[in-house]
C-alpha cells in the first residue's frame, strides 16, 4: 500500500487528477517504444546461431538442452514427450536419437537400450536460458573486428583532441583580441554552420584525394576538426571570462601563448567538456564522410563495418547484433553519466 502511495503521490496536490493518469500512461508507453527495440536487440545478440533463426522468436536467449547418452557420439537434444494415450499423465523427458520424417526415435537417457517411436507433434523441446557469449568472443577471434574497433577509437580520440585545441585557439583569438578583420573571420566561421557536409561531398572528396589522405584515417579526422559549432560555443563562454585576469597575467610578463593555456583554457573547462562530449558523439557515430573516404577493409570504422556486414547476402545476424551492441556501449556510457552536460549544451547553444 505504501509503495502504491509513493508511486502515485503528486507534488503539492493530494488527489490524482485524470490528467495525471494520462501523463503516466504516455510516459510508460514512451518507455516501451523507446527502450523495447534496444532491449530486444541486446537480448537477441546473446542468441546462438540456431536460436537466432528460430521463429517465432523469444525475448530471452533460449537454446535446447542436450544430454550425453552412452552409445551415442554426439550429445542428444532433449524433449518433453506427451503421453498420447493418457492425457492426465505427466510428460516424460527423453532424448532424440534420430528423426525420420514426422517420426522420431526417442530414448530415455537412463535406459539407452530401449527406443520409442514418437510423432514429432507430440513433443516439446526442453529449453534453457543460454547466453551465447561466443558471439562476442568470436568477433575478436575470427574477424578483423579489433581493427575496426581500433580505427573508431583512434578517430574519435585524436579528432576530439585536435578539435578542442584548434577550436579553443580560434575562440580565444575571437573573444580576447581586437584585430583587423576579426568580425569578418567570425562571420565567415558562423556562415559555415549553414553549409552542411552533404552539399560539398564531391569537392571534399577531391581535396582529400589531392592531399593524399584517401583510405587513411587522417582523411576522416582532418576535414571536420574545425567545427563552427565548437568555435561558437567556446567563444561565447570565453567572453564571460573577465579581461582583467588576462591583463594581470600580462603584467606578470606571461607570454600570450601561456595566457591562453594557463589562464583561459582551465577557466573554460565546462565549455570544453561540453564540446568534448559532442565531438566524441559526432565522431563515433559519423557515417557519410567515412563512407566516401574509407573504402578498404583495413581502415573501416565500426559504423562502416556494420553497414557492410548487413549488406551481405547471408547476413550473419548473431555476429552483426553482437557488433551493434558493442557499438552501442560507449554511447550508452555517455548517456548514463554525462547526460546533464549534453542537455545543457543543447539548451544553451541549440546544437547537436
Amino acid at each position: 500500500m505504501s509503495v502504491a502511495n509513493f508511486l502515485l503521490r503528486t507534488r503539492g496536490r493530494h488527489r490524482l487528477h485524470w490528467t495525471d493518469v494520462v501523463t503516466y500512461v504516455y510516459l510508460v508507453l514512451g518507455l516501451v517504444v523507446m527502450f523495447a527495440p534496444v532491449s530486444w536487440l541486446v537480448m537477441s545478440s546473446f542468441k546462438s546461431e540456431s536460436a537466432i533463426s528460430q521463429f517465432p522468436p523469444t525475448f530471452l536467449p533460449y537454446s535446447q538442452q542436450t544430454v550425453t547418452v552412452p552409445g551415442f557420439d554426439k550429445p542428444l537434444p532433449l524433449f518433453e514427450v506427451l503421453n498420447t494415450e493418457d492425457q492426465s499423465a505427466p510428460p516424460v523427458v527423453m532424448a532424440q536419437a534420430r528423426r525420420i520424417g514426422i517420426m522420431a526415435a526417442m530414448v530415455d537417457p537412463k535406459q539407452p537400450e530401449v527406443q520409442v517411436k514418437v510423432n514429432v507433434d507430440d513433443r516439446v523441446p526442453v529449453n534453457e536460458l543460454d547466453f551465447a557469449w561466443s558471439n562476442y568472443i568470436d568477433l575478436f577471434d575470427k574477424f578483423t573486428f579489433s581493427t575496426y574497433l581500433f580505427n573508431s577509437v583512434f578517430i574519435t580520440v585524436v579528432a576530439t583532441l585536435i578539435t578542442l585545441l584548434l577550436n579553443s585557439m580560434a575562440a580565444f583569438a575571437l573573444s580576447k583580441y581586437r584585430f583587423k578583420g576579426q568580425r569578418a573571420v567570425f562571420l565567415l566561421i558562423i556562415a559555415t554552420l549553414m553549409v552542411p557536409p552533404t552539399i560539398i561531398l564531391v569537392p571534399v572528396f577531391l581535396v582529400i584525394n589531392e592531399v593524399g589522405l584517401l583510405n587513411n584515417l587522417w582523411g576522416v579526422i582532418l576535414p571536420a576538426v574545425a567545427t563552427p559549432t565548437g568555435v561558437f560555443l567556446l567563444r561565447q563562454y570565453m567572453l564571460t571570462i573577465p579581461d582583467e585576469l588576462i591583463e594581470a597575467a600580462r603584467m606578470d610578463h606571461a607570454s600570450e601563448w601561456r595566457i591562453y593555456w594557463r589562464v583561459v583554457l582551465p577557466l573554460s573547462a565546462p565549455a570544453l567538456a561540453v564540446l568534448a562530449i559532442f565531438s566524441v558523439m559526432w565522431r563515433w557515430n559519423d557515417f557519410l564522410l567515412p563512407l566516401i573516404v574509407l573504402s578498404t577493409n583495413d581502415v573501416f570504422t565500426l559504423q562502416l563495418a556494420l553497414n557492410s556486414f548487413q549488406g551481405e547476402l547471408n547476413t550473419q545476424w548473431h555476429y552483426l547484433l553482437a557488433m551493434t551492441v558493442i557499438t552501442l556501449i560507449p554511447v550508452t556510457f555517455v548517456f548514463a553519466f554525462l547526460q546533464r552536460y549534453i542537455t545543457t549544451g543543447i539548451a544553451s547553444a541549440g546544437v547537436k
Binding site: 517465432p56 552533404t198 561531398l201 564531391v202 574545425a226 600570450e256 601561456r258 593555456w261 554511447v331
Partner: protein, 326 residues
C-alpha cells in the same frame, strides 16, 4: 597527465613568442585563429567554389582543370523531361523521384515531429516524479548512431522478426515491412522520428520551463480552461522555440540519408531514395562516377537549404514584431 599536457603546450611556446615579437600582441590573433581558418578554407570554402565549378563541367576526371566546360548540360540532364506530368519520361527520373520523396518525407516527418515533441515536452513539463529519468528515456535514441538505429529496426522488421511474430500470434498474416513501398516509407518516417524526437523535445522543454509560473497562476485565478491556457499562454510564449524546432527539423529532414541508406537502401525500387542518396550514388557508388551531375544535384539541395534558412529568419522576425505589437 598534467606534466604531459604542459610538455605538449610548451612545445608551441617558442613559435608563439617569435610571432609575438614580429607581429605584436593584437595581430597575434591571426596566428591563433590561423589553423582553424586553414582547415575551414581547405575543407569548406574551397569545396564550395569547386562544387559550383564541377556543376558546370562534364567528364569523369576528378581534377577540376582537366574537366571540359559543358555549361548547363548537367542541369539539363537532371531536370529535362519530355512531359513534366509524367515522371517516367524524365531524363533522370530517379532524381525527380528523389526530390518528390524528400518533399513528402520532410512534410510528413517535420509535421509529426513538431506535434509529437510538443506533446512529449508538455507531458515532461508537468509535475511528475523522476523528470530527469523520463527526459532521459526520450533522449536516449538521439545519441545512437544512424547505423545502429537502422539495424535495431531492421532486426525487428525483417520478415521473421518480432513484429511479424506478433502479427501471427494475433492471427494476422505477416507483412514484408521493408520491401513494400508504402510500408517502407512509413517505417523510414517512423524510425527517423523515433531517433531524433528527444532532441527537439529538449529544446521545447527548455522553452516551457522559461515561461513564468505566475502567468499560469493568474490564468488559474481567472478559471481559464486547460485548453485556453495552452492556446493563449503556452503556445505564444513557446513560439520562438517552436520556430527553431520547425526549421532545424526541416533542414535535417531534407538531408536525410544514413538511417534510410542502411534500413532500406533506398528501396524497394526508389520508394525511399532521397536527394542525398542520389548524390552519393551518382558521385560515388555507381560504376562511372558522374561528379558533375552529383555536384549539380547538391546545388539543388543547397537551394532548398537556403530557402529554409531564409524562411527561418523571416519567421522569427515576424514573430518578434508580432509579440512587440501585442
Amino acid at each position: 597527465m598534467l606534466r604531459l599536457l604542459s610538455f605538449f603546450f610548451n612545445l608551441f611556446e617558442p613559435i608563439f613568442k617569435l610571432a609575438q615579437r614580429w607581429l605584436g600582441v593584437s595581430r597575434l590573433g591571426w596566428v591563433f585563429v590561423g589553423p582553424n581558418l586553414l582547415v575551414f578554407g581547405l575543407f569548406t570554402f574551397l569545396p564550395i567554389i569547386i562544387n559550383v565549378f564541377y556543376a558546370f563541367t562534364g567528364g569523369v576526371e576528378l581534377m577540376p582543370l582537366k574537366r571540359p566546360y559543358t555549361g548547363g548540360e548537367n542541369f539539363e540532364i537532371l531536370l529535362y523531361c519530355s512531359n513534366y506530368l509524367d515522371v517516367t519520361t524524365c531524363n533522370k527520373d530517379v532524381f525527380w523521384r528523389a526530390i518528390f520523396n524528400t518533399g513528402k518525407f520532410a512534410l510528413l516527418q517535420v509535421g509529426l515531429m513538431v506535434v509529437l515533441s510538443l506533446m512529449t515536452a508538455l507531458v515532461l513539463n508537468r509535475n511528475i516524479i523522476g523528470r530527469g529519468f523520463w527526459r532521459g528515456v526520450f533522449f536516449y535514441p538521439v545519441l545512437l548512431s544512424p547505423v545502429v538505429v537502422a539495424l535495431i529496426w531492421k532486426w525487428l522488421l525483417q520478415s521473421n522478426g518480432a513484429f511479424n511474430a506478433g502479427l501471427i500470434s494475433l492471427g494476422y498474416n505477416p507483412v514484408e515491412w521493408l520491401t513494400t513501398s508504402d510500408w517502407s516509407f512509413f517505417w523510414v518516417v517512423f524510425v527517423s522520428i523515433w531517433a531524433h524526437m528527444g532532441f527537439y523535445t529538449l529544446i521545447l522543454l527548455a522553452g516551457l520551463q522559461a515561461i513564468p509560473k505566475d502567468l499560469y497562476e493568474a490564468a488559474n485565478m481567472d478559471r481559464a480552461s486547460a485548453f485556453t491556457t495552452l492556446r493563449r499562454i503556452t503556445l505564444p510564449l513557446l513560439m520562438p522555440n517552436l520556430i527553431v524546432v520547425l526549421v532545424l527539423a526541416a533542414i535535417r529532414a531534407v538531408q536525410v540519408f544514413d538511417e534510410v541508406f542502411v534500413l532500406t537502401g533506398g528501396g524497394p525500387g526508389s520508394a525511399t531514395t532521397f536527394i542525398v542518396q542520389f548524390i552519393y550514388q551518382t558521385g560515388f557508388a555507381e560504376q562511372i562516377h558522374l561528379y558533375g551531375l552529383a555536384a549539380a544535384a547538391s546545388l539543388a539541395l543547397a537551394t532548398f537549404l537556403v530557402i529554409l534558412t531564409l524562411a527561418q529568419l523571416r519567421l522569427s522576425r515576424a514573430n518578434e514584431l508580432g509579440s512587440k505589437k501585442a
